[in-house]
């Protein structure tokens, strides 16, 4: 209690952390006394307490909103609509993937057909054959060249 009660040294932060529980009466007696003592001395903490109380009172003001007198009438109307809506949504749930699957399969089939019908240009002859034509050694063997030199 002594460590907690050092009211003059208590920081705003530690008091601020307890205020919501102070409002809800959830603090132990010793903490409650310490908070009340600090509140007497600290204007800023009192101001935040009022701000917090006003904020939390909003819940009290707005809870239990008035329910429309036509709630059940609207509900029973929806109950009658429901089977038709459900049947429609079930149909849509089945039809949509089926439709997209058919489109996908058609696309793949079309692609394959196009691929098989396409005529490719003949592949170029290997580059080595043109190199061979330029191969001087084959056209003029080195032995004969050396013999000519002699």
């Amino acid at each position: 209690m002594v460590s907690y009660i050092k009211s003059n040294k208590m920081k705003h932060e530690s008091i601020h952390n307890d205020l919501i529980f102070y409002i809800d009466n959830e603090l132990s007696v010793e903490k409650r006394i310490a908070v009340e003592k600090h509140l007497e001395e600290c204007a800023d903490c009192r101001s935040f307490l009022v701000f917090l109380q006003e904020g939390m009172q909003i819940i009290e003001k707005e809870k239990n909103p008035e329910v429309s007198p036509f709630f059940y009438t609207r509900l029973s109307a929806r109950l009658e609509e429901k089977p038709e809506y459900q049947a429609q949504s079930q149909w849509a749930r089945l039809a949509q993937p089926a439709f997209f699957s058919i489109i996908l399969l058609l696309g793949i089939y079309g692609g394959l057909r196009l691929g098989s019908n396409a005529s490719f240009p003949k592949a170029n002859p290997p580059a080595t054959s043109s190199v061979q034509l330029l191969n001087d050694f084959e056209a003029e063997p080195i032995e004969s060249f050396l013999l000519n030199e002699l």
Binding site: H16, N17, L19, I20, F21, D24, F48, F51, L52, E54, G55, M56, I58, I59, K61, E62, K63, N64, P65, E66, V67, S68, F71, Y72, R74, L75, S76, R78, L79, K82
Partner: protein, 193 residues
Amino acid sequence: MDESELIKGIQQGDNKAFRLLVETYQRMVVNTCFGIVHSTADAEDLAQDVFLEIFRTAGNFRGDSKISTWLYRIATNRSLNFVRNKKRKGFFQSLEETFTSGRNQNSEISENRGDQPDQNITDQQRSDLLHRAIDQLPEKQRIAFTLNKYEELPYQQIAEIMEISLASVESLIHRAKKNLQEQLLDCYKKKCV
């Protein structure tokens, strides 16, 4: 008519039993949904969805728990789904507004607020602030806090609805309050209201 008779009646398609159920629990369901979605119109729409689900699935109700527990579970699940979908839509809408009419809408809101008395402005601002703070809570904390504050349910009943231990409920509500306080303190320091 007790709960088992009520459920039996609904299972047999008795409209009177269903009407009695709706009239008995409509305030409770609307209030629970309201605590999560913060709009009366949306809360009523969601409450209707809850009762429709009850009507359709009454045959699956085993009677292990009370009707109210069953209703609370469906109401909180549906409300959380609604908020998730709204967030997703809101993200794309905000992108659109950034590039189109976002500025015009903001000026319209501030003009409308200018016509209201000062007290209402402050109440509206406080209400918006509190709703934003509640919306930022993690889902489990939000459910526990809403059931405790809006429906004033004891921790034990919240534990049954959420299917968790009593200690977990205490911890969730404690953390929810701390988080709310932090956000309100942040706003208080910035003087946002």
